[in-house]
């Protein structure tokens, strides 16, 4: 299971923190973030991307699998049930999806649109389990949401929500149209 996903920048400022196994208090969450950062930031990029650090808040056998992109560390804390290299690639998928969503994503995007980052992550990992790894499906889902979200902004509260058939129609067209092309490998920030 994935215990949590934390994105911190090079200065240790959290950019996203998602706990799938909740820790008890706000203070503990902060200490987890700090601990993760201090363990990760000491390692040069040439080292391997695994860290068998201990995060007592999550239990003992936790492995940190991280990737470092320009100014950000993407850290997944996992237990032994996850594959080491698999998660590493999953981070890559996540980042590629972010890149596609925000068109050349950068650190500020994550701050200003943390909600959308969360939604994107929701499509990849759910309740600590890998939900979807297919990048086109991930993007599809988040794009549909984005569309409907902006629509729902124009409707009033009393409101005619888009009916089921409408949504289906939209989804169908979404299926038909795009997202066929495979995402380019992107490591840029």
């Amino acid at each position: 299971m994935i215990k949590g996903v934390i994105i911190v920048n090079n200065h240790g400022k959290p950019r996203l923190a998602k706990f799938f196994q909740s820790v008890e208090s706000e203070a503990l969450q902060q200490s987890v973030i700090r601990r993760v950062f201090t363990q990760v930031c000491q390692r040069p990029d040439s080292f391997c991307n695994y860290l068998e650090g201990i995060i007592p808040e999550w239990g003992e056998h936790i492995k940190l699998i991280y990737r470092h992109y320009a100014t950000l560390y993407f850290v997944f804390a996992v237990d032994s049930q996850e594959s080491d290299l698999g998660i590493l690639d999953l981070i890559q998928v996540f980042v590629e999806a972010l890149d596609k969503t925000f068109e050349n994503v950068c650190e500020l995007d994550l701050i200003f649109h943390s909600d959308r980052v969360h939604y994107l992550l929701d499509e990849i990992v759910m309740g600590g389990m890998v939900l979807e790894t297919n990048i086109s499906h991930i993007l599809e889902a988040s794009k549909d949401q984005g569309k409907l979200h902006s629509e729902s902004l124009t409707t009033t509260d009393a409101a005619n929500n888009p009916s089921a058939s409408q949504i289906r129609g939209q989804l169908q067209s979404g299926n038909g149209n795009g997202w066929q092309q495979q995402g380019q490998y992107s490591d840029k920030w």
């Binding site: 909600d115 729902s152 888009p162």
Partner: protein, 928 residues
């Protein structure tokens, strides 16, 4: 990046900018505090008639995102939670998602607001709007607690057959989550059945998410999933053959995550099951070959295959393939792959050590690597590949790391591991002694005391095969410790090493060729001057000094000074030992050799529990007109008179008491006071057994009458220890003592006070209890037979009681330091000291002998570390249980057909382009 047109307010932008530019945590905190006040204003309920700032939807959402941000930076944003809950109920999807998001990120698992969301989530799950359903599912996955599962499980179960695959895949994961939260509501059987259906879902991504659930479940109950092996194999085969839509490819590898998951599940199912394993050999080899295309995603699959191969029933061909893959990982320049290589190697060498040899150099490289993760993994590997041949080298390496690391956790782990490999594989005893001594030096008190015990008994007993070898061994140990003694300042050495050294030197110092006995003695005496020794170390030290003095035959002034100093120790035990030794030295030095014999720590000691050697003495006393001894009902604990207690000795219970009830032990303490009052002066002189009589003659009625007035008197037992201060003790119980209860475990007539004494006002009584305990230990020294063992609870209670008493009586001497941990219970005969020459009825020597028994060391012969006889202990491979019959397929077949039909219809209708491909993964059984 463009902020323009992204619905950001100026405020938010400024806030983020300010935080980005803040130089310190304090500054950041200030900015956030300001933001919190702003948000509070905006989010607070608006009075009717005014427009709430939340009317503007974009703004309202942004406020919540800001709230999330504040929370993420570690500040309390609970004032806004209620708004988040409100928003989750909004009709606008945009708001709803944001509301749910903030709730799931901020609400703690037991937060009451979670209950407010249940209704909303239920509504969303029933919605016709796809995204509302998804939102509801995502929210319930993270917000549900065990109590809420019953309200939601029905809805989620329905969604497993929803039209949309996004809903289905979320539903199965949510259902699994419910199961982990509340196994009674979503039962294992139910989930089990659902999972099988979902595995055959027409959409590959639903199947993929379902694999996670299967893995979690199979982890606990592999048996139940064995019949899925053929289906899984078939799915894996289809994926490998590129039968999935191409958008599942990741860098040309078809659906790598699904492949990994399936391989992992197969590994779980094939563990220790030859039959199940045989069904997956082929596909594993196939998968490995196909995945090995030189990119990470492929390596990930190969690595999972390697793990799987080491888990399942072994197959030579596969193992060779796995070893090849590992070799490639090890030789890779990528640290990530090296890491996998080392991990993989560690897995494979445990059962198949032959694969390790070719990687020795690579392993050494990893060990030198600056990357700590890699180092640790390599240490782990080393530990696992230890055998009698390489144990010396590996132990050296491990010791080097223990010395170098600052990580306590790692240090502790390595220490335990070194002990374990050293005991298991030690090539010879001399090496063992050296390594463990070195370990003591670097790890100090992280080593468990047991290891020191084993080491000392090994030195004392040797192998038992040849006396000459044993002496050789002792000689080695002595030279080692003498060297340490000369070279290292004792303040730098950890306690466990000091104690071991003290004991070994005390026993065998005469074997040293480089250093004279006197020299060693004086160096030991020198310890006392440096630093602060632990109480237990002091006892080891004094014991060693006693022994060396006895061996040398003279007591050099330094030793005398140390002993003299400790006669004023606050630790009564130590004090007593020193006093007794002093007495012995001055009055009967001729017995020193007998009392402190050379190299006799491992000898068995016969104990004459009937004390027949006292018969002559008693006869004489009786002849002189002493009253004959009548057996008391209980020994009075605070007799510190040796004759008295030795006369009592046969009455001692030799077996430990049952765990005492609280009030019993209190009564015991109080009785100490009462009886103390009784025979106060009698015991100051050595009384004839009759003195004891007085004591035993005190019946319960006598005690209670004494208790009335006598207790306020000076009590002898206590007074002797604590001086008159004890007189300030609060008067104990009222005189109205209940009738005696002779069957009390403490057996005393005095126990009649039990129930009275149990009232809580007896802190003072507790204090006496402590003195009482001391008394009893005093008599224990006197009596050749060992005293009744105190249970740790008792000791602890006494210790606490002593502390309490120290507070009650102002100006009273501080209670003695907590008694050192009670020696482990041991068989009485072994614990008893060697009895000195029988006719010598002198109590002191007898007591002195007991002193030898300071630690628990020269007692129970602990088994010497088995040198090399269980080398293969760890290597043994558990044979697989007998194969089970081939898993029946009937069960799944029934729904399978229907499902397949449906899926064909669906996919042809909906997605003509991919139909043929989509069907394949759906239909795992097509192959059969």
């Amino acid at each position: 990046m463009a902020t323009g047109g992204l619905n950001l307010s100026r405020e938010f932008f400024e806030l983020l900018k300010a935080i980005g530019e803040s130089k310190s945590k304090q500054e950041e905190d200030r900015i956030i505090a300001r933001e919190v006040t702003v948000l509070k204003q905006k989010l607070e309920p608006t009075p009717p008639g005014k427009t709430s700032p939340l009317q503007n939807k974009k703004r309202a959402k942004e406020y919540l995102v800001r709230l999330l941000y504040v929370e993420m930076l570690g500040h309390d944003a609970s004032f806004g939670y209620i708004k988040a809950v409100e928003m989750a109920a909004s009709a606008s999807l945009y708001h709803k998602r944001t509301g749910y998001l903030v709730c799931s990120a901020c609400l703690s698992p037991d937060h009451e607001f979670r209950f407010m969301l249940v209704n909303q989530m239920q509504r969303d799950l029933q919605s016709t709007n796809l995204l509302e359903i998804c939102g509801g599912l995502l929210a319930s996955g993270s917000l549900i607690t065990a109590d809420m599962v019953p309200a939601m499980s029905g809805e989620v179960t329905k969604l497993l057959t929803h039209d949309s695959e996004t809903v289905r895949k979320k539903a199965i994961i949510t259902l699994h989550r419910f199961h982990t939260l509340s196994p009674d509501v979503v039962t294992e059987e139910e989930l089990f059945e659902k999972v099988r259906k979902v595995l055959c879902d027409r959409d590959p991504s639903v199947m993929g998410s379902c694999l996670n659930v299967i893995e979690s479940m199979a982890l606990r109950e592999p048996q139940k999933f064995k019949d899925l092996i053929p289906s899984l194999v078939s799915i894996l085969k289809q994926i490998g053959d590129h039968r999935l839509p191409t958008d599942y490819d990741y860098h040309r590898v078809p659906a790598p995550w699904m492949q990994m998951k399936i391989v992992r599940i197969l590994g779980l199912l094939g563990t220790a099951d030859a039959n199940a394993s045989s069904g997956i050999y082929e596909i594993l080899l196939d998968t490995m070959k196909k995945a090995d295309i030189g990119i990470n995603a492929g390596y990930a699959i190969v690595y999972e295959c390697v793990k799987c191969i080491t888990k399942i029933y072994p197959n030579t061909k596969l193992l060779d393939a796995a070893a090849d893959a590992i070799a490639r990982f090890m030789d890779s320049r990528s640290h990530n792959l090296k890491y996998l290589g080392v991990t993989g190697l560690a897995m494979i060498v445990e059962t198949h050590p032959q694969y390790a040899t070719q990687h020795q150099m690579a392993v050494m490289d990893c060990l030198e690597d600056p990357d700590e993760t890699l180092q640790r993994k390599t240490l782990d590997l080393l530990y696992r590949m230890t055998n009698p041949v390489n144990v010396e080298f590996i132990t050296d390496k491990l010791l080097l790391f223990v010395e170098g690391t600052t990580d306590l956790f790692l240090k502790q782990q390595l220490t335990t591991r070194i002990c374990s490999v050293a005991e298991r594989y030690a090539p010879d005893n001399a090496w063992y002694i050296k390594s463990i001594t070195r370990l003591f030096e670097v790890s100090g008190d992280m080593v468990s005391g047991e290891v020191a015990q084993n080491l000392m008994s090994l030195i004392a007993e040797g192998t038992g095969e040849s006396e000459q070898e044993d002496m050789q061994l002792r000689q080695t140990a002595i030279e080692l410790y003498v060297q340490l003694l000369r070279e290292k300042p004792p303040a730098k050495l950890p306690k466990i090493l000091l104690e071991t050294m003290a004991w070994v030197l005390g026993e065998y110092a005469y074997l040293s060729t480089v250093c004279s006995l006197e020299d060693i003695l004086s160096r030991l005496c020198h310890w006392n001057k440096i630093g602060i020794l632990q109480p237990s170390t002091r006892k080891f030290l004094t014991s060693a000094i006693f022994k060396l003095v006895a061996q040398a035959g003279t007591c050099p002034p330094q030793a005398a000074a140390v002993i003299d100093e400790y006669t004023r120790s606050k630790d009564p035990d130590l004090q007593q030992r020193c006093l007794e030794f002093q007495g012995l030295l001055t009055t009967a030095p001729q017995y020193l050799g007998e009392i402190l014999p050379v190299d006799a720590s491992a000898e068995d000691v016969d104990v004459d529990i009937n004390l027949s050697f006292l018969d002559g003495f008693c006869q004489e006393a009786l002849a002189n007109g002493a009253r004959p001894y009548s057996k008391p009902e209980d020994d009075d604990d605070d007799d510190e008179d040796y004759n008295l207690s030795s006369a009592n000795a046969p009455a001692f219970k030799m077996t430990p008491y049952a765990k005492p009830e609280t009030n019993v032990s209190r009564s015991h303490m109080i009785r100490g006071m009462g009886s103390g009052g009784m025979n106060s002066s009698a015991s100051a002189v050595t009384p004839p057994p009759g003195g004891n009589l007085g004591n035993s003659a005190v019946t319960s009625t006598a005690t209670s009458s004494v208790a009335g007035d006598g207790l306020t008197l000076n009590t002898r037992g206590a007074a002797n220890v604590w001086g008159k201060k004890t007189a300030a003790a609060p008067p104990p119980e009222p005189a109205a003592a209940p009738p005696p209860a002779p069957s009390n475990p403490y057996g005393g007539g005095f126990s009649s006070n039990a129930s009275v004494g149990s009232s809580s006002a007896y802190g003072g009584g507790g204090g006496f209890g402590r003195s009482n305990a001391y008394g009893s230990s005093g008599s224990a020294y006197g009596a050749p037979a060992p005293p009744v063992q105190k249970t740790p609870e008792q000791l602890e209670k006494e210790r606490q009681a002593a502390a309490l008493f120290g507070g009650i009586v102002p100006g009273a001497a501080p209670p003695p330091p907590p008694a050192p941990a009670p020696p482990p219970p041991r068989p009485a005969p072994a614990a008893a000291p060697p009895v000195a020459a029988p006719p010598v009825a002198a109590p002191a020597p007898a007591a002195e002998i007991d002193l030898l028994d300071m630690g628990a060391f020269d007692v129970t012969p602990a088994p010497a570390p088995a040198a090399a006889d269980d080398i293969f202990g760890s290597v043994s491979l558990a044979p697989a249980p007998p194969p089970t019959a081939a898993p029946p397929m009937v069960e799944t077949a029934s729904f399978d057909e229907a499902d397949v039909d449906a899926s064909v219809a669906h996919s042809t209708a909906e997605r003509p382009t991919t139909a043929s491909e989509a069907i394949e993964p759906v239909d795992p059984f097509a192959a059969e």
